[in-house]
C-alpha cells in the first residue's frame, strides 16, 4: 500500500528515488548525481562516543528526515555533513562522507568551497542584523567573492523559492532583523539558496516558529526538494511524516547514537521493521 496520503501536498517525482539501506531491492545501487552518502561515521566529543557507525544514503531531489528522541546526536550528525562539527573543541570523527562521489574529509579538500555546495539552515533564525534584507540574501556571494551579473533577478529567484518574495519585495532595503520569526527563517533559507547548493541541511528549522510559519516553511521545503537534496532534523514526527520522503530513525540507549532503521517514510510510519521504531512513531516514548 502506497501511503501517498500521509505525505500530503507534496509533488515529488517518485521515479528518481533511491532507497536507503533496507529499501526496495530494485532500487539498490543507484545513487543520484548530486548524491550525499556517509559510510561508517563515528563521532566523538573528547572521549565521549556520541555516534556509532552511521551509514546513510541521501537520495537526490528528495527530503530525508532524521528523527528520534532528543540527545541522540541528530544535530551533531548534521554538522558532520558540512564539516561544521570540527569547530567544536574536542571534536573527533571516523568514517567517510561522500558528496558527488568525493570524500569531503580527504586531505586537500577546499572546505569553504564545499560549504557552498552544502547549505545549512539553523534552528534559531539568524539573519545578519547589520545588513538589509537584500544584502542578507546575497551575503553568501559576498563572503565567497562570487561575482553575479544580475543580482536583482537572483535576489528575486531566491526569495521566491523561499516563499518570501511577495512579503518583502517592497522593503528589500530594510534591516534583516525587522521581520517576524517565520519570515526571518525563510530569509535564512533564501540566503542559503543564493549560493546554489546541491544539498540543504536543516536543523529543526521550525522548532522556534509558530504553527502558521511552520506550515509555510514546510511547503517551501517540499517545493525545494524537486531540485536539491534536503536533510531535515526534526523532533516533530508529524512534520517528518508530512515533509520527508525517507526517514532515518536515530536512537541512543545511553551509549552512542545509532540508526535503528532507515527507509521510505511510508514504510517507517506504517510497517516499520524494528519494534523500537514502531514504539517511537506511535508515541510510546520520545
Amino acid at each position: 500500500m502506497d501511503d501517498a496520503t500521509i505525505q500530503t501536498g507534496s509533488n515529488m517525482n517518485t521515479d528518481s528515488h533511491t532507497a536507503p539501506l533496507g529499501g526496495d531491492p530494485l532500487d539498490e545501487g543507484r545513487v543520484g548525481i548530486n548524491g550525499l552518502q556517509t559510510k561508517g561515521v563515528h563521532v566523538w566529543f573528547n572521549k565521549h562516543h556520541v555516534l556509532e557507525d552511521i551509514s546513510l544514503d541521501f537520495p537526490a531531489n528528495s527530503v530525508t528526515g532524521l528523527i528520534g528522541p532528543s540527545g541522540c546526536g541528530k544535530s551533531t550528525f548534521l554538522r558532520v555533513l558540512n564539516r561544521m562539527h570540527e569547530f567544536i573543541p574536542g571534536a573527533a570523527m571516523a568514517g567517510e562522507v561522500f558528496l558527488d562521489g568525493k570524500e569531503i574529509y580527504a586531505p586537500g579538500v577546499d572546505v569553504t568551497a564545499m560549504r557552498l555546495k552544502v547549505g545549512m539552515v539553523f534552528q534559531k533564525p539568524n539573519p545578519f542584523p547589520s545588513m538589509t534584507i537584500g544584502q542578507n540574501v546575497l551575503a553568501g556571494l559576498k563572503l565567497a567573492n562570487i561575482k553575479v551579473k544580475d543580482k536583482d533577478s537572483l535576489l528575486e529567484e531566491c526569495l521566491t523559492r523561499a516563499g518570501l518574495w511577495k512579503e518583502v519585495k517592497d522593503r528589500l532595503k530594510t534591516s534583516g532583523g525587522s521581520l517576524s520569526g517565520g519570515q526571518q527563517q525563510r530569509l535564512c533559507i533564501a540566503r542559503a539558496l543564493a549560493v546554489k547548493p546541491d544539498v540543504l541541511l536543516m536543523d529543526e528549522p521550525c522548532s522556534a516558529l509558530d504553527p502558521a510559519s511552520t506550515l509555510k516553511v514546510e511547503e517551501t521545503v517540499v517545493q525545494l526538494s524537486s531540485d536539491m537534496t534536503i536533510v531535515i532534523v526534526t523532533h516533530n514526527m508529524q512534520q517528518a511524516a508530512r515533509v520527508s520522503d525517507h526517514c532515518a530513525f536515530f536512537l541512543s540507549d545511553g551509549g552512542p547514537g545509532v540508526i535503528v532503521e532507515a527507509d521510505r517514510t511510508s514504510v517507517i510510519f506504517s510497517t516499520p521493521s524494528d519494534p523500537r521504531t514502531a514504539d517511537y512513531v506511535q508515541g510510546r516514548f520520545g
Binding site: 561508517g40 563515528h42 566523538w44 562516543h49 556509532e52 557507525d53 564539516r83 570540527e86 571534536a91 573527533a92 570523527m93 571516523a94 568514517g95 574529509y105 580527504a106 586531505p107 586537500g108 577546499d110 572546505v111 569553504t112 563572503l143 565567497a144 567573492n145 552512542p256 545509532v258 540508526i259
Partner: protein, 347 residues
Amino acid sequence: MTTSTASLVTPRRPWVNRRDVFKELIPTLVISGALAAVIVNFTGLAGPLGSYVAFVFAYLSVSFLFGMRHDKVKAIDKVMTTLVCAGFFTAFIPWVSILFTVFKRGASAIYWGYFSSDMSVTSGDDELNMGGLSHAIVGSGIILLIASLIAIPFGIITAVYITEIKGRLSGLVRVMVQSMSGVPSIVAGLFVFTVMVTGKGFSAISGAVALSILMLPTVARTAEEVLKLIPEDLRTSAYALGATQTATTFRIVLPAARAGLVTASMLGVARVGGETAPLIMTSFYLANFSTDFSGHPLASLPMYIYQNFTNGTDLALSRAWGGAAVLLSLIFIIFTIARLASGRAKG
C-alpha cells in the same frame, strides 16, 4: 549495530592536516626572509626593528601571493590573519622592552645596601655603591597606608550602598564613582594642593588624600562586583531568620566577601602605588629617612625616580632605573597576589 565495530575504529581529526600547513608555511617563511633581506639592503630600514618591519611587510606580500593560488578570498584571509597577529606582537615589543630595560639598567643600581640606606648623605650623582631608597620605600608605604585607611572604608561603604541598601540614589552613586575614576591625577593633586598645602607646606597626609581620591573608584567598583557575586540566598535566609540589615551585612555578607574585598583593596593600592603627578604637588620629596607623616614632605618611590631623572647625570639615571625596578616589582607582586586571590575566591 554491534559494539565490535566500535572497538576497531579510532577517533581521528581529518581536518587537522599539519603536513599541509607546513608545506605552505615553510616556503612562505623562507621566501619572506629572503625578501626582507633584500628590502633591508635597499631601504633605510636597519637594525632589529627595521628587519622586523621588513619581514612583516615581506610576509604579507608573500602570503597574499600564495593565497592567490587558490582564490582571492583565501588570500585576503591570509593577509588579515598576518596583520592581526603582527598587530598583537608588535604591541608587545615595547612592553618587553620596558621590562627588559627596567630590570637590566635597574640592576646596576641595586647593591646589598640599597634597601637600607637613604639619600640623606649621598647625592644623586655619587657612585652607585652609596645611598639607597629605604626612605622612598617607607615613605610610599606610609602614604599608601594612610590613603588606604581613607579610600578602602569609603569604597566598601559605597559598594555596600549599591548592593545591600539598593537605595534610590544607586544609579547616581555609580555615575559619580565612574566620573571620579576619570579625574586626572594632576587635578586631584591640584585640589589637595589648594586645600591642604598652600600655607602649610608639603606633607605625606596631603599626598595620601590625593591618592585616596584616585584609589576610591577602583576599590568601589571592584568591591561592588565582588558583593554582587554573593548569592542572594545568603541574605534572604538571614532576613528570614529575623536578622537586621546591619547584622546581615556585617556578619554574613562582608565575611563571605572577605577575599574579594581584600582583592579590591590590593588592586586599589596597585593602581595608585605608581602615581607621581599628585605627589609632586602634595608630598613632594625628602632625601632623609623619616616616618613623620605631617608637617613636612616625605619621600616616595615615584618621586625618588622623578628626582633622579631630573638630576640627569648617568649615575642618577641608573638610580632612577633602580627605583623603577623596585617599584615595578612591588606593583606586579601586589597585582598578581590580588588576581590570584580573586581567582580562588571565585572558583
